[in-house]
C-alpha cells in the first residue's frame, strides 16, 4: 500500500511537470501545446547528447540540457507560434501537432530510434532507496518529486511576485490590453514557451535517466494532458491535485486491472471531467453552454 502511495507520488510529479507546461502555454495564448510530450523526449535527448560530449560531468550536462530545452521553447515560439497570431486557435493547436511530428522526425534522424540510457555517460548511479514503511523508490524517483516541488514553488513565487511574472499573468488575461500598457507580450509569450519547454525538458531529463530514453516517450505527454484538463487548463495550482488524482487512478488500475486499462485511465479521467465539469477542478469557468 505504501509502495502504491510512493509510486503515485512519483508518477504525479512527472505529470505535474508536464502539466505545468500545458498550463503555462495555455494561460498565455489559449493554445494547447500538443507537442509537450515531444519536448519531454527532446529534453532527454539533449541530456544524452550533452552527456556524451562531457562524460562524467553531471554538474555541467544536467543544467546545460535543461537550458537547451528552454532555448528550444523560445525558438518554437519565434519560428512557429508567432506567425499563427491572429489565426484561429485550432490552427495554432494543429501547428503544435506538426511541431511534435517535426521534433520526433529530427530526433529519429539524429539519434535513431534505439533505446538509450543517458545515465551511463553521466557518471551517476541510480541506487534504490528504501523508504520507512517498506516502500522502495529509485534515487531519481526522489529527484523527480523534489524537482516538481521546487519548480512549482519557483513558478508560484515568480508569477505572484516578480514584475515579469505579473506581466505574464496580465498578458494571459488580455493580450491587447497588456500590450497597450507597454508590456512586450511577444517577449512574455516567448518566455511562457521557454518555461513550458523547460518544465517538459526537466521531466524528460529525469525520466530518461531513471527509466530509459526512446522517441516513443511522447505518449507520456498525451496522458499528462488529461492532468492539465482535470486541474483546469488555466490553473497552475490545479495541476498538483489533478496530477495526484490521475496518477492515483493509474496506479490503482494497474494494481486491480491490467496495463491496458492503466494506459487509458488518464483519458477516462478526462472524459469524466469533461462531462461533469469541463473547466476542471480549479479552472476559470469559460463560456460553456447547452444547446
Amino acid at each position: 500500500m505504501l509502495q502504491a502511495l510512493a509510486t503515485t507520488l512519483v508518477v504525479a510529479s512527472l505529470y505535474a511537470l508536464l502539466g505545468a507546461g500545458y498550463v503555462l502555454v495555455y494561460r498565455s495564448s489559449r493554445v494547447l501545446n500538443l507537442a509537450q510530450g515531444d519536448l519531454l523526449t527532446l529534453g532527454g535527448y539533449f541530456l544524452f547528447a550533452v552527456a556524451a560530449a562531457f562524460p562524467g560531468a553531471p554538474a555541467v550536462s544536467l543544467p546545460l540540457a535543461a537550458l537547451l530545452s528552454a532555448l528550444t521553447g523560445v525558438l518554437v515560439y519565434v519560428v512557429l507560434m508567432r506567425p499563427m497570431a491572429g489565426h484561429p486557435v485550432f490552427a495554432a493547436v494543429l501547428v503544435t501537432v506538426t511541431l511534435g511530428i517535426l521534433l520526433r522526425a529530427a530526433i529519429v534522424l539524429v539519434f535513431t530510434d534505439r533505446t538509450r540510457h543517458p545515465l551511463q555517460n553521466l557518471g551517476l548511479a541510480n541506487p534504490p532507496r528504501p523508504l520507512p514503511g517498506g516502500a522502495v523508490v529509485s534515487t531519481f524517483d526522489l529527484v523527480m518529486i523534489g524537482t516538481a516541488a521546487a519548480l512549482f514553488v519557483a513558478l508560484f513565487v515568480f508569477l505572484k511576485l516578480s514584475p515579469l511574472g505579473i506581466q505574464m499573468r496580465a498578458a494571459g488575461e488580455d493580450a491587447l490590453l497588456a500590450s497597450q500598457r507597454g508590456i512586450n507580450f511577444h517577449g512574455v509569450f516567448a518566455l511562457s514557451w521557454a518555461l513550458a519547454a523547460f518544465a517538459g525538458g526537466l521531466a524528460g531529463i529525469i525520466y530518461s535517466s531513471n527509466v530509459r530514453l526512446e522517441p516513443s516517450l511522447d505518449v507520456l505527454g498525451l496522458r499528462a494532458f488529461a492532468v492539465a484538463l482535470v486541474g483546469g487548463l488555466d490553473s497552475l495550482a490545479g495541476v498538483i491535485p489533478a496530477a495526484i488524482l490521475v496518477a492515483a487512478v493509474e496506479v490503482m488500475s494497474i494494481r486491480y486491472g491490467n496495463p491496458l486499462l492503466s494506459d487509458v485511465s488518464p483519458f477516462l479521467c478526462l472524459l469524466v471531467m469533461l462531462l461533469v465539469r469541463p473547466w476542471g477542478l480549479f479552472g476559470t469557468r469559460e463560456e460553456l453552454e447547452r444547446v
Binding site: L32, L80, F90, L102, L109, D113
Partner: protein, 354 residues
C-alpha cells in the same frame, strides 16, 4: 443589370440543380470517368493500389470534412471511428459472420451510436474542449479494441476473410480498385449534395456562428448530432472496407497519428470543400511514395532508418507550411491560379456599377 463578364445564365431549376452544368465540365467528367475505368488496362498493380488507398482515404476525409469543415466541430478522434468500424467487422468475423451484407450495416449501426455518443457532449463543449473529448474517445475505442485483441488469444490482430456476396468474391488489386473508387465517388456525390442542401447550409451556419444559426430557426442540436452521426457512420464503413481490403485488423493501425493524417488531409486540401478533401487525401496518401521515389533518385542506397524520419518530417513540415501560409489549402491555390487565367491581363475582378 447584367453582370459584367458573365455569358452563362441558368434559365431553369433543372439547370440550377445540375451538378455538372457546362459542356466543358461534362466533357471533363466523362474523360475522368473513362480514365478511371480504363486505368487498370494500362497501370501497374502498384499504381492501382495507390489509387485504391487514396480512394479509401478520400472516403474518410470527406466524412471528416463534413464534421470539421462544414459543421465546424473539431475531431481529433477520427481514427477511433475507423477503428470502431474495423473492429466491429473483426468481432463479427470471429463469431463466424463474414458476409459484408451483415457486417456493413452492423458497422454503420455501431459507428452511428459512437457518433451519437461523441456528439451529445458536443452540445455543451466547444472548440478545444470538444477536440479533447474526441481524443479521449479515440483512446477509449482503442482500449476496447486492444482488450478484444488480447482476449482473442494474444495474437497480433484479426484475420478477415475476403468479402463474399452470393458467390462473388472481392479479391485482387483490380477488383478492389473498382470497388473503392466507386465507393469514394458515391461518398463524394453524397457529400457534394449534402453540402448544397438544407443540411449543408445549416452546418455552415452553425460553423460560422451558432447563436445566429439558432436565431434563424436552425435546430442546432439536431444538426450537430446529424453531422457527427453522418461522419462517424461513413468513417466506420471506411474502416470496414479497410479491414476487408487488408484482410487483417490490428490496433497498431489506428494510432493518434492516423487521426492527425486525416486532419492534415482536409487542411492541406482546403477546409470545407469536397474537392479539397479528395485532393488532400490523394496528396497525403501519395506523399510517402513520392519521397521514396525522390530519395531513390537523388541518394540511392540511403539507409532505411533515414527514410522513415524523412517522410515523417516532410509530412509535418508540409502541414505546418499549409497551416501558416495557405490556410485555404490546395483548393485555394487552384482557385487563385484559375482566377489569374480568368482575369488576365487584369489582376482584380472588375468593380460592378451599382
Amino acid at each position: 443589370m447584367a453582370a459584367l463578364g458573365g455569358g452563362y445564365f441558368k434559365t431553369s431549376y433543372e439547370a440550377d440543380l445540375a451538378l455538372i452544368d457546362t459542356r466543358l465540365r461534362r466533357a471533363a467528367v466523362a474523360a475522368l470517368a473513362l480514365g478511371l475505368l480504363l486505368l487498370p488496362r494500362f497501370a501497374s498493380s502498384f499504381t492501382l493500389d495507390l489509387v485504391s488507398q487514396a480512394a479509401l482515404a478520400a472516403i474518410g476525409a470527406l466524412a471528416l470534412n463534413v464534421l470539421t469543415g462544414l459543421a465546424g466541430q473539431i475531431s481529433l478522434g477520427h481514427a477511433g471511428f475507423l477503428a470502431a468500424g474495423a473492429f466491429t467487422t473483426a468481432a463479427l468475423v470471429e463469431r463466424g459472420v463474414t458476409s459484408p451484407l451483415v457486417t456493413l450495416p452492423a458497422t454503420a449501426l455501431v459507428g452511428g451510436l459512437l457518433g451519437l455518443a461523441v456528439g451529445v457532449p458536443s452540445l455543451r463543449l466547444k472548440g478545444l474542449y470538444l477536440a479533447l473529448g474526441t481524443l479521449a474517445m479515440h483512446h477509449v475505442v482503442l482500449y476496447v479494441a486492444g482488450e478484444m485483441q488480447a482476449r482473442a488469444g494474444g495474437n497480433t490482430g484479426f484475420t478477415i476473410p475476403p468479402a463474399r456476396v452470393a458467390g462473388l468474391v472481392l479479391r485482387g488489386t483490380v477488383a478492389w480498385y473498382y470497388a473503392l473508387v466507386v465507393a469514394a465517388l458515391v461518398v463524394l456525390m453524397l457529400a457534394v449534395n449534402l453540402q448544397r442542401s438544407r443540411a449543408g447550409r445549416a452546418w455552415m451556419a452553425i460553423r460560422d456562428r451558432d447563436v445566429a444559426a439558432a436565431s434563424v430557426g436552425i435546430n442546432v442540436a439536431r444538426y450537430k448530432l446529424a453531422a457527427f452521426v453522418w461522419s462517424s457512420v461513413v468513417t466506420a464503413l471506411a474502416g470496414t472496407l479497410f479491414a476487408y481490403q487488408r484482410g487483417f485488423v490490428s490496433v497498431e493501425a489506428f494510432g493518434f497519428f492516423v487521426a492527425v493524417e486525416y486532419i492534415a488531409m482536409i487542411i492541406i486540401g482546403g477546409l470545407g470543400t469536397a474537392l479539397g478533401a479528395v485532393l488532400g487525401a490523394a496528396f497525403v496518401t501519395l506523399l510517402p511514395y513520392v519521397i521514396d521515389g525522390a530519395v531513390a533518385a537523388l541518394a540511392p542506397g540511403a539507409a532505411d532508418y533515414y527514410i522513415f524520419p524523412a517522410k515523417f518530417g516532410a509530412f509535418g513540415l508540409l502541414m505546418a507550411l499549409f497551416l501558416i501560409f495557405e490556410p485555404l489549402g490546395l483548393v485555394g491555390i487552384w482557385r487563385r491560379i484559375r482566377n489569374w487565367f480568368f482575369l488576365w491581363p487584369f489582376r482584380h475582378r472588375p468593380l460592378r456599377a451599382s
